[in-house]
C-alpha cells in the first residue's frame, strides 16, 4: 500500500470506498506523521484528541451511505486557529485568546462536519491573521518544509506548512490580503481566495470585515475545488454572503491579461518563473496579452488604511472583561489597558494604533475616503480589463520564501502582499498554483502564479489551474 499521507482527496476517497484502508487508518497515518514532523515545523498548535473517534464515526457513516457519501468523508482537514470549532480552543495564535474555548461551530465547520470530514487539529498563524510569515504567532514561528531556515508565509502559514509536508491533505486558511495565496505560493501549494461573500465568515475571528474570506489550501487544484464546493453558499448567519444561484459552468475564452508595469514589482527570478508558466499556458492554447491596470500598484497602500481601520474596530471588543486574557487594575479603564497590552503582540498593537490614527477626527478625507475611492478605481480598472480578457495573471508573491527574522521592518513585510491586494479590495476571486521553482542557496524553492477572474467565476480559475498543472 502506498503512503496514505501522499494521497490527494480523490485518492483517499477511492481507498475508503474500495476498502484498501479505513478512515481510522487515514487519520492514524496523518496523526503519526504530525507527531514525528511537527516539532521541527510548528505547523500545528494542537492535534485534537478526538481525531480517531471522529474517524470511527466517518467509517460508520461510510458503511451506511456507501456511494452517496461525500468525497470529503473521512478526509482529515486542518483548520486555521481563527476558525471556531465548538468545545475546542481557538486562540488566533494570540496570548489574548490562549485559553479561549469556542462556544459554537463556524458555518464552514458545520458544513464540513455534515460531509463527514475529520478535524485533525488547529494550525499556527500570525496573531489575529496579521502578518506574512507566521513569525507574529504568540506560540513561535512555523517553518517552511522546503527549507526550515525560511518562513512558510502567512498568515495561514501553519496550514500551508502542514499541507506541504503531507501532515494533512487539505487545510482551511483565511485571507484579508494574501493570507492564503502568499503561504500557498511559498509552500508550493494551490490556494484559493474565494469571491467576497461566497463563503460564510460566521465563526471566523474577524480581522478586516470588508475583506475577510475563508478558503482552502491543497496540493492539487481538484482538492481545493472539492473543499471550496463544500464550503460555499448563502448563510443567514453572515449577511454578506451572496444569494445561492446555480453558477453556470460556461466556457470562457482562453485569454490572459498581464499588467506588465505591476509585474515589475517582483524580483527578476520571480518574473522569470512567471514567464515560464505563461509559456506553458500559451502552449496549452491560451492567448496572452498585455493589459493596463494603472491603479494596481496603489492597492496595498489603500489596504493599509482600510484594514487597520477595521482591525481597530473589530479588536476593540477584546478588553479582558467578557472573554480572553485578563489583567487586574485599580479601575475598569486600567483593566482594559492592562489586559489589551498584555494580551496583544507588537504587530497587533501597531495595526490597532494605525487604525486609530486613520480614523481620527480630521483625517477621514485624506485617508479612509481616498482608500475607499481607490477601491472603486480598482474595480473600474478590473471591469475594463475583464471586457478584454478572462483572466489577469501576476506572480503571487514578489519572491520565494525569505529567511526567518529577515523582515524585521514592518513595511518590508507588508510589501509581500503587493500582488494580493487588488483581489481582496474588490472582492474578486483569485487562485495561486505552483509556478517554476527558484533556486536560492542551492535549494529549489516554490513560488506561485496567481490568476484573478470576475466575481463568482471560481470554476474558470479551477479550469486554468488544472490546465497549468496538467490535472485533467
Amino acid at each position: 500500500m502506498s503512503d496514505i499521507t501522499t494521497l490527494s482527496v480523490p485518492g483517499i476517497a477511492e481507498g475508503l470506498r474500495t476498502r484498501v484502508f479505513s478512515s481510522v487508518d487515514v487519520a492514524r497515518a496523518h496523526v503519526e506523521k504530525i507527531e514525528k514532523e511537527n516539532p521541527a515545523l510548528n505547523a500545528f498548535l494542537e492535534v485534537f484528541d478526538d481525531t480517531l473517534e471522529q474517524a470511527k464515526n466517518a467509517d460508520a457513516l461510510l458503511a451506511k451511505q456507501g456511494s452517496d457519501a461525500h468525497p470529503l468523508l473521512g478526509v482529515p482537514i486542518a483548520t486555521k486557529d481563527n476558525i471556531l470549532i465548538e468545545g475546542k480552543r481557538a486562540s488566533a495564535a494570540s496570548k489574548m485568546l490562549e485559553n479561549h474555548v469556542a462556544t459554537y461551530d463556524a458555518t464552514v465547520i458545520k458544513k464540513l462536519r455534515a460531509c463527514g470530514a475529520v478535524f485533525i487539529g488547529r494550525t499556527n498563524m500570525d496573531e489575529f491573521a496579521m502578518g506574512s510569515s507566521t513569525e507574529h504567532s504568540a506560540f513561535g514561528p512555523t517553518r517552511n518544509p522546503y527549507d526550515t531556515e525560511r518562513v512558510p508565509g502567512g498568515s495561514s502559514g501553519g496550514s500551508a506548512a502542514a499541507v506541504a509536508a503531507n501532515l494533512v491533505p487539505v487545510a482551511l486558511g483565511s485571507e484579508t490580503c494574501g493570507s492564503i495565496r502568499q503561504p500557498a505560493s511559498l509552500c508550493g501549494l494551490v490556494g484559493l481566495k474565494p469571491t467576497y461573500g461566497a463563503v460564510s465568515r460566521s465563526g471566523l475571528i474577524a480581522m478586516g470585515s470588508s475583506l475577510d474570506q475563508i478558503g482552502p489550501l491543497g496540493r492539487t487544484v481538484a482538492d481545493v475545488e472539492v473543499v471550496y464546493n463544500a464550503l460555499r453558499g448563502h448563510d443567514i448567519l453572515d449577511s454578506t454572503t451572496l444569494p445561492d444561484r446555480n453558477d453556470e459552468r460556461k466556457r470562457v475564452p482562453k485569454t490572459i491579461g498581464i499588467p506588465r508595469a505591476f509585474v515589475k514589482d517582483a524580483t527578476r527570478e520571480a518574473q522569470q518563473s512567471f514567464e515560464i508558466s505563461l509559456k506553458k499556458l500559451s502552449n496549452a492554447g491560451y492567448d496572452i496579452m498585455d493589459i493596463d491596470f494603472p491603479s494596481a500598484p496603489y492597492g496595498l497602500a489603500a489596504y493599509y488604511i482600510v484594514m487597520p481601520a477595521e482591525v481597530s474596530t473589530n479588536l476593540a471588543r477584546l478588553d479582558g472583561t467578557r472573554y480572553g486574557f485578563h489583567a487586574e487594575g485599580a479601575i475598569l479603564l486600567d483593566e482594559y489597558k492592562k489586559s489589551r497590552s498584555g494580551g496583544f503582540g507588537a504587530e497587533t498593537k501597531r495595526r490597532i494604533m494605525l487604525g486609530t490614527h486613520v480614523l481620527s477626527s480630521g483625517y477621514y478625507d485624506s485617508y479612509y475616503r481616498r482608500a475607499t475611492a481607490l477601491r472603486g478605481l480598482l474595480a473600474k480598472d478590473l471591469t475594463a480589463a475583464f471586457q478584454k480578457v478572462s483572466y489577469i495573471a501576476t506572480p503571487t508573491t514578489p519572491d520565494a520564501a525569505f529567511k526567518i527574522g529577515s523582515k524585521g521592518d514592518p513595511l518590508s513585510m507588508y510589501l509581500e502582499d503587493i500582488f494580493a491586494a487588488p483581489a481582496n479590495l474588490t472582492g474578486i476571486p483569485a487562485i495561486t498554483v505552483p509556478s517554476e521553482r527558484i533556486e536560492k542557496e542551492g535549494k529549489k524553492l516554490p513560488i506561485g502564479i496567481q490568476f484573478m477572474s470576475p466575481k463568482r467565476t471560481e470554476d474558470t480559475l479551477f479550469a486554468i489551474g488544472k490546465d497549468l498543472m496538467g490535472e485533467n
Binding site: 474555548v101 462556544t103 459554537y104 461573500g197 449577511s239 454578506t240 496603489y298 497602500a301 489603500a302 493599509y304 488604511i305 481597530s312 476593540a316 478588553d319 479582558g320 472583561t321 467578557r322 472573554y323 480572553g324 485578563h326 487594575g329 485599580a330 479601575i331 475598569l332 479603564l333 486600567d334 483593566e335 482594559y336 489597558k337 492592562k338 489589551r340 497590552s341 496583544f344 507588537a346 498593537k349 501597531r350 490597532i352 494604533m353 494605525l354 486609530t356 490614527h357 486613520v358 481620527s360 485624506s366 485617508y367 481616498r370 482608500a371 475607499t372 475611492a373 481607490l374 477601491r375 472603486g376 478605481l377 474595480a379 473600474k380 521592518d409 514592518p410 513595511l411 507588508y414 474588490t426
Partner: protein
C-alpha cells in the same frame, strides 16, 4: 517625520493600550514609515466617484426581527469564558477612579 511622540501617546490612550517608553519610540518610527508609504495614495488622481462605488453590485441585507431563541439558552456557555463573573453577570471593577 509625519507623526510625533506626543501623537503616538495620544493614539495609545485612544486605543486603550499601555506602551513603555521604548515601545512608544519604536512605535513612532514604525508608524512613521508606514504612514509615509500609505501617503503615496495622496499622489493618485482619483475620479469623482461616489465612495461606495466598490460595492456597486452588493446590497444591504435586511430582514424582519423574529424567531427569537428562548432566553438564557446560550448564557452559561458564553459566561463560561468570562474571566470574572457573579451568577449570570460579568463582574467588573468600578468605572470611576
Amino acid at each position: 517625520m509625519v507623526i510625533s511622540l506626543d501623537e503616538v501617546k495620544k493614539l495609545a490612550e485612544l486605543s486603550r493600550l499601555e506602551l513603555s517608553g521604548d515601545e512608544l519610540e519604536k512605535m513612532r518610527g514604525d508608524m512613521d514609515s508606514i504612514i509615509a508609504y500609505v501617503d503615496t495614495l495622496q499622489k493618485v488622481t482619483l475620479p469623482n466617484v461616489p465612495e461606495e462605488s466598490v460595492y456597486f453590485d452588493e446590497v444591504n441585507v435586511m430582514r424582519e426581527d423574529g424567531e427569537p431563541h428562548a432566553p438564557g439558552v446560550f448564557s452559561e456557555k458564553l459566561l463560561s469564558q468570562a474571566p470574572r463573573r457573579e451568577g449570570a453577570y460579568l463582574k467588573v471593577k468600578k468605572i470611576l477612579g
